[in-house]
């Protein structure tokens, strides 16, 4: 612990103040930290003056940072310490060609050439199309069969590959291989003018437009010393809660559809649209694109917008309550939701699940409470009653969060109405970022902890931009939820997590 520097969410610090320790020390400190309710927020590599450096941002109830320098390989933390490092180490190997020695499942994450020109850790030739050269976890035996699904799926959804190892209908293991959505975002960002950052970050994952743009904007605000007014902060908070409501409602509808209970699917599908339209009322786009910019927001909320939102909340709240009752009180639905796709509390903790996936397993972490940004410090927190780790819990947590978010928006509208002073609309421009600095931003997006890290160089240019979508933690949770389930439960489990492909693939 002594080696860790305590930092604050969204506050820039000088890079020189990040503790740089020898790898053995780094290894030991992190190993101990994750044993005691410690979780990883960010863990990534960057190149600095010709050397490879690793940087870890970790959390318990506080946020800490630590750095080290490595050669072309380092001793795997996944093998020796915790599963929480698993995907992060694979990502480091893929992006920088540095090998985590002894990693138990060292396999590409997204399938792309590394940034450094080092020898490829996985022995791939990237002139060849995906899937390239990689093994799948396999189970052998007379009655074992393998089911491969994707990348192109049956519905209108994003691509990914799922490989099930089954004995009859029972799934022994599911391996999820993504990467099909890789757009090279982290590599391209440092080469681009600032004006392109917001539009790109809004499209990291379109359903988390507000979550990711808040992280990006707060990072720029910290590095450029910008302050935002209260009115803008309220609108940002409302937008993030609207985004949460839209997605949760959509997913509850999809869950009803997956258990062939059609009325709530139709109702929720329609109601979700009403909330997307409220984002359009705020900023002219149903996903909130173009709304949040460094320094504030680009569209002011006036009396008219406040009234439209308030009226819609008044109309939709009883409808949502009613449709939720319809869904959760149906015996056929309960029979399908309960005890399906259970992830045990300890497993969820070992994997470091975040967001509703974590909360459904009784991991109460909510970044709105632990590391509040915007208006969250003064808003009431939520708590969850059903936390058994199954589909039913994940659905119940969504229901509770929808009702909580509706109340938050109502409070925020009251607050906005009483506000004195005016908000000025801001648009993207070039900013002078403070040189040789580091900042990490965290927001509780609808799926969970979204985080961005920026390292600026001596001239104030973005040297490394690191993005983490909560899906990066949670995909493994989905894989584990399928163990010993029937393969026909996959759609239901999948919808209850509803993870991002593009947020993971970047």
């Amino acid at each position: 612990m002594d080696n860790l520097l305590k930092i604050e969410n969204g506050k820039a610090i000088a890079r020189a103040s990040i503790p740089q320790v020898a790898y053995e020390q780094f290894f030991k400190t992190l190993s101990e930290f994750v044993k005691n309710e410690g979780f990883i927020v960010q863990f990534f590599a960057y190149k600095d003056e010709g050397n490879y450096k690793l940087l870890a941002v970790v959390r318990n109830n506080e946020l800490y940072v630590i750095g080290t320098q490595v050669g072309k390989s380092f001793m795997s933390l996944t093998r020796n310490s915790s599963e929480k490092f698993h995907m992060f180490e694979r990502e480091i190997a893929e992006q920088y060609g540095i090998k985590p020695d002894g990693h138990p499942w060292l396999k590409m994450v997204r399938y792309h050439e590394n940034y450094t020109g080092e020898k490829d850790v996985f022995g791939n030739d990237y002139a060849k199309e995906i899937p390239g050269n990689y093994p799948y976890f396999s189970v052998e035996g007379e009655a074992i069969h393998e089911v491969a699904v994707g990348p192109v799926h049956a519905g209108i959804i994003e691509p990914g590959h799922f490989r099930f190892q089954c004995a009859g209908e029972e799934v022994l293991h599911l391996e999820i291989q993504l990467g099909y959505q890789h757009r090279g975002i982290e590599k391209m960002l440092p080469t681009l003018p600032h004006k392109r950052f917001p539009t790109i970050c809004e499209s990291i994952a379109g359903d988390t437009t507000i979550g990711h743009s808040l992280c990006m904007c707060q990072a720029f605000e910290a590095l450029a010393g910008l302050s935002i007014d209260d009115g803008a902060s309220i609108v940002r908070t409302i937008a993030l809660e609207l985004e949460r409501i839209c997605n949760h409602i959509g997913d509850l509808g999809a869950l009803s559809g997956d258990v062939a209970f059609n009325p709530p699917a139709a109702y929720f599908g329609r109601i979700r649209g009403e909330f997307l339209n409220l984002l359009q009322v705020l900023g002219g786009n149903r996903f909130g694109k173009g709304l949040v910019r460094p320094g504030g927001i680009s569209h002011i909320m006036g009396e008219e917008q406040r009234r439209l939102i308030r009226d819609k909340l008044a109309e939709a709240t009883p409808e949502i309550e009613h449709v939720c009752d319809l869904l959760f009180s149906a015996h056929t639905v309960q029979a399908r939701f309960e005890h399906t796709g259970t992830v045990e509390h300890n497993m969820a903790k070992d994997l470091g699940l975040v967001g509703y996936a974590g909360r459904a397993c009784n991991i109460s972490y909510d970044a709105r409470v632990t590391f509040p940004t915007e208006c969250y410090a003064e808003l009431p927190a939520n708590s969850n009653l059903v936390t058994n780790g199954d589909v039913n819990s994940r659905a119940a947590v969504r229901r509770e969060e929808i009702m909580h978010s509706l109340r938050l928006i109502s409070l925020l509208l009251d607050k906005h109405e009483k506000l004195e002073g005016t908000t000025t609309a801001v648009y993207m421009q070039d900013h002078n970022l403070s040189p040789a600095s580091f900042v990490v931003t965290i927001n509780e997006g609808w799926r969970g902890e979204v985080s961005h890290c920026v390292l600026s160089d001596e001239k104030g240019k973005v040297q490394r931009y690191k993005i983490k979508d909560p899906s990066f933690h949670n995909w493994t949770g989905l894989a584990m939820s399928l163990r010993n389930q029937e393969i026909s439960d996959f759609p239901l489990c999948n919808k209850s997590f509803n993870l991002s492909y593009c947020g993971f693939d970047l």
Binding site: R110, Y111, H112, E129, I130, P151, V152, A154, G155, I156, I157, E158, P159, G179, Y180, Q181, H182, R183, G184, I185, K187, M188, L192, K195, R196, P198, T199, I200, E202, S203, I204, A205, G206, D207, T209, G250, A266, G269, R270, R272, G273, N277, Q280, V281, G284, N285, R286, F287, K289, G290, S298, H299, H322, A425, Y427, M428, Q429, S500, C502, D505
Partner: protein, 240 residues
């Protein structure tokens, strides 16, 4: 029953979108070059050509920031959501688009006018295009009432509807899906990503323009296209 009828009568009755919605831009040709250059300077998509005063809707994400320059002296976005075109060049616009229904290929109307089955392929789409396409199946829009459906198998499809900037990692799967659709088949590029790479233009990990792979018949711009933009484009292009 209790929620009442929540469907729409579009296209028999028009639908008005909230005035903050950004649809077809209205460009002031008389605007000074200085102001147009200011707009081009802040455009994250490099979609504005100041010499001829046009906006490329195939690149534009409709973020609307150019509208804020000098109080909309160069461009204002209208609520008109009829944005689909049959030609890429038509998307480079000074404020008007050709009437789509007149420019669609007549044999397509004959072949697909009464029944159109599409296979959607997300090729690195960020999920907003996908989500706002999915929405067409909700009761409000109810796409099926027009005989248009999204189907699971490319073998059952009359064409593909592509979203996303086409990552290199999805190129093969996209082409396999296209090849699996029986001819004659149509190709729809939906969202600025599949038309130009969208926000990700210039990335070495994407193909960008779908036209580089397969010939596109219908372009639906937006980030994402509003469900009504997609609906209007499908109806105008395929229905008699």
């Amino acid at each position: 029953m209790e929620q009442g009828c929540k469907t729409s009568k579009y296209p028999k009755e028009p639908i008005a979108l909230y005035h903050r919605f950004r649809g077809l831009p209205v460009i002031n040709k008389e605007c000074s070059t200085e102001i147009a250059e200011l707009c081009a300077g802040i455009c994250p998509q490099d979609a504005i050509d100041t010499a001829v005063k046009t906006i490329d809707l195939g690149r534009c994400t409709f973020c609307g920031h150019c509208e804020a320059v000098s109080d909309g002296a160069f461009v204002r976005f209208s609520e008109n959501f009829d944005l689909g075109t049959a030609n890429r060049t038509d998307l480079v616009t000074s404020g008007s688009l050709p009437t789509l229904a007149k420019h669609s290929k007549q044999h397509f109307k004959k072949l697909f006018g009464r029944s159109l089955q599409l296979r959607q392929v997300s090729a690195a789409g960020c999920n907003s295009c996908e989500a706002d396409t999915n929405v067409l199946n909700t009761p409000f829009f109810d796409l099926s009432r027009f005989g248009i459906d999204f189907v699971a198998s490319p073998r059952h499809a009359d064409g593909i509807h592509v979203t996303g900037p086409i990552s290199l990692n999805m190129k093969q799967a996209l082409m396999d899906t296209y090849d699996a659709v029986p001819s004659p088949k149509i190709v729809i590029a939906s969202g600025c990503c599949s038309i130009s790479g969208g926000p990700f233009f210039g990335s070495e990990q994407i193909v960008g323009d779908l036209n580089n792979l397969i010939p596109v018949d219908l372009y639906i711009p937006g980030c994402p296209p509003h469900p009504l933009t997609t609906l209007h484009a499908l109806l105008s292009f395929f229905k008699r």
